[in-house]
């Protein structure tokens, strides 16, 4: 569907604009050098690094539990899944099995995070396409989740809510009741958002057939998460390589067929419902018991290396840990989903219009904190 650029470039009036890093639609500090022929995009080159903090280098100076707060700041819209990926990697390296209650709490925190992250995606994506109201509707629900996080660990954004070997705290009194209240009303809110957008003529005009990527291409670009599933590839780390007892809960992997912005939208909307389904199962069979396994005071994984990945809201988030047997990682490499999904942007936007550019940035759901690290 992407219209081909047919005019020869040399006799056209090209215009090069710097899109960002301070631009309302770039979700942070993404900068794009966009070459335009009128409104049509000839080339878009992402320039990243404006939020580089050297997180991976900082990891090499900290103990494993000290590194957890730094993962909060990578994908700052999904701190819980970042924590989950890091502690999961270290636990796998050390061969620790966390208690079932801790695993279920982790699943709940992670699924809440998926909902919270997707609400931000929906809010900003709709705002970029010009629909202002869903932004506030979505943020209202996110607020409720943040309240639940606050009740659990005291933080709302940078949670730091997991430790190597389990969970730092048990659930506070009444928390499960509050979560149940939330998931009872949340599907109605999702239906409300869908009423505003899903069959909206303009919304469909703006998203159907925009930023199409075929399944083989999506795999070759290394896309993960909703951008991959939107192209029809049934790949979800939670199902493919289950961690933290995800094999005990039932859920479906929603997939699209066309690989366009609209399908990715539908996939994420369905993921809201699947997350609620997982949360409900977790609440129903939350086991009793300790939340922390027996781990040494100083975490010293044996010499070796491990790659562990989780299904973050943006896609596969992996941590590659190399340990030299000391309390400090020798190397801690992150595979951020946003970084790899962003790679496909130039291919996705070629030949599209400027208005599609912001729609495609929105649909990839990138977070610059994770890209630049």
């Amino acid at each position: 569907m992407a219209p081909e650029v047919t005019r020869p470039f040399d006799d056209s009036e090209e215009m090069e604009i710097s899109f960002g890093p301070q631009h309302p639609a770039t979700h942070g500090v993404l900068r794009l050098m966009v070459k335009l022929d009128g409104e049509r995009i000839i080339e878009a080159k992402p320039i990243i690094g404006y939020l580089h903090r050297g997180t991976e280098k900082i990891f090499e100076t900290l103990t494993y539990n000290q590194a957890i707060p730094h993962t909060d700041r990578m994908d700052y819209t999904a701190a819980a899944t970042n924590n989950q990926a890091l502690v999961g990697a270290v636990e796998r390296l050390m061969g620790i099995t966390i208690p079932p209650r801790a695993a279920y709490i982790r699943i709940m925190l992670a699924e809440m995070q998926r909902i919270a992250s997707h609400t931000i995606w929906l809010a900003t994506h709709a705002l970029d396409i010009g629909a202002m109201t869903p932004y506030f509707y979505a943020f209202e629900e996110r607020e409720k989740i943040l309240d639940l996080y606050e009740a659990y660990c005291g933080a709302r954004l940078t949670l730091n809510c997991m430790r190597v070997g389990g969970q730092p705290f048990d659930l506070p009194d009444g928390w499960t009741h509050r979560l149940r209240q939330f998931i009872d009303q949340f599907p109605h809110r999702v239906a409300e958002w869908e009423k505003l957008l899903t069959n909206n003529r303009i919304w469909k005009l703006r998203t159907v057939g925009v930023g199409v990527i075929s399944a083989p291409d999506a795999i070759e670009w290394g896309l993960t998460g909703p951008p991959l599933r939107g192209s029809g590839v049934r790949w979800d780390v939670r199902k493919a390589l289950p961690y933290d007892r995800y094999d005990e809960v039932a859920f479906d992997i929603p997939t699209g067929t066309h690989g366009d912005t609209y399908d990715r939208y539908l996939v994420r909307m369905e993921e809201f419902r699947q997350s609620v389904r997982i949360l409900r199962q977790c609440l129903d069979r939350l086991p009793d018991g300790p939340v922390m396994a027996k781990v040494p005071k100083v975490i010293k994984p044996p010499k070796g290396e491990v790659y562990h990945s989780v299904e973050g809201p943006k896609g596969e988030l992996g941590f590659y840990v190399v340990s030299d047997g000391s309390a400090i990682p020798y190397r801690l490499r992150v595979r951020p989903a946003s970084f790899i999904n962003l790679q496909a942007l130039p291919a996705l936007v070629r030949g599209h219009l400027v208005a599609d550019l912001v729609a495609i940035i929105g649909t990839l759901d990138i977070v610059l904190g994770e890209i630049d690290r």
């Binding site: 309302p24 409104e39 396409i129 202002m132 109201t133 932004y135 909206n200 703006r206 208005a355 599609d356």
Partner: protein
Amino acid sequence: MDNVWIAYLLVPFVKILIILLAVILIAAYMSFAERRIVAFMQIRLGPNRVWPRGWLQPIADALKLLVKEDIVPARAEKFIYMLAPALMIIPSLVVFSVIPFAPATTLFGVFKQPIEPYLADLNVGVLFVLGVSSVGIYGVILGGWSSNNKFSLMGALRSAAQLISYEVPMGLAVVAVLLMSGTLSLVGIIEAQRSQGVWYIFPGIVAFFLYLACGVAETNRNPFDLPEAESELVAGYHTEYSGMKFAFYFLAEYANMTVISCMITVLFFGGWLPPFPNWLAAAWSSPALAWIPPFAWFAVKVAFFLFCYIWFRGTFPRYRFDQLMHLGWKVFIPVSLANVMVVALLVLLVGGGK
């Protein structure tokens, strides 16, 4: 009143002053209304701090914009850059000179002779409105081009294309009304609706929706707000403007919205006439409601369409540029042409016009 000075200088001058102030105030308070109403739609509060309950917010905004630094970007075309906001706001204010707000009145007996509360009743009033409001395009194009900013330029180009495209179906929608009324005078159109006993919305429902959609497009409002699409072009053609120059663009936009709402009211909803003239007489135009002044009817109708503008903003996503052009040229123009034919046939069969 036989004094020439009073009749030709003082009275028009007072009228101009009142209309100008009223329009500027309405435009300013439209921004306030918009912020509050959209906020209500979006489950938030909106400006409610400036005493009382935010009602002085537009005044505070105006004061802020007045004292703000007036920035002219380096290498901008200075003269044109200064000229553009004026070109934008003057037409949008001038248009109000022909808008008939209410019929001639003695203002509850204050005046001996009835005076007309509008400035002029041109026999080509509709043409005047269409023509003068088109001049505003120059403000957009020149402002976008002269600020030496690529985003502004793109916004200006989009705006120029959009305004020109949507003026055609808009004009054709008006033609349908003119066929029915047989006059180009805005007062005449209202009188025609009274004498024919029907608001033109009923025979001209298609024309009404065309005019509404084109009117929204003409004023660069959601869902046709591409020229100032925040997420794409930062602020479109007025990206570089600050202070009072920005305020002029802002005021002009809201004044234009008011113009369009007034025009819809006059063309399709009988202007100051109560619902419904000589028709369904039982309910609404009964003597019981005769005490309501005509201006109130006019104001209520205009307010409703202004509310519609805000409502659209709270509801719709934004069109893409090519889709906008497609809609304008391939949908609206054929439909409006067909509508002219149908209305002409209707006028032939049923009568109407003069």
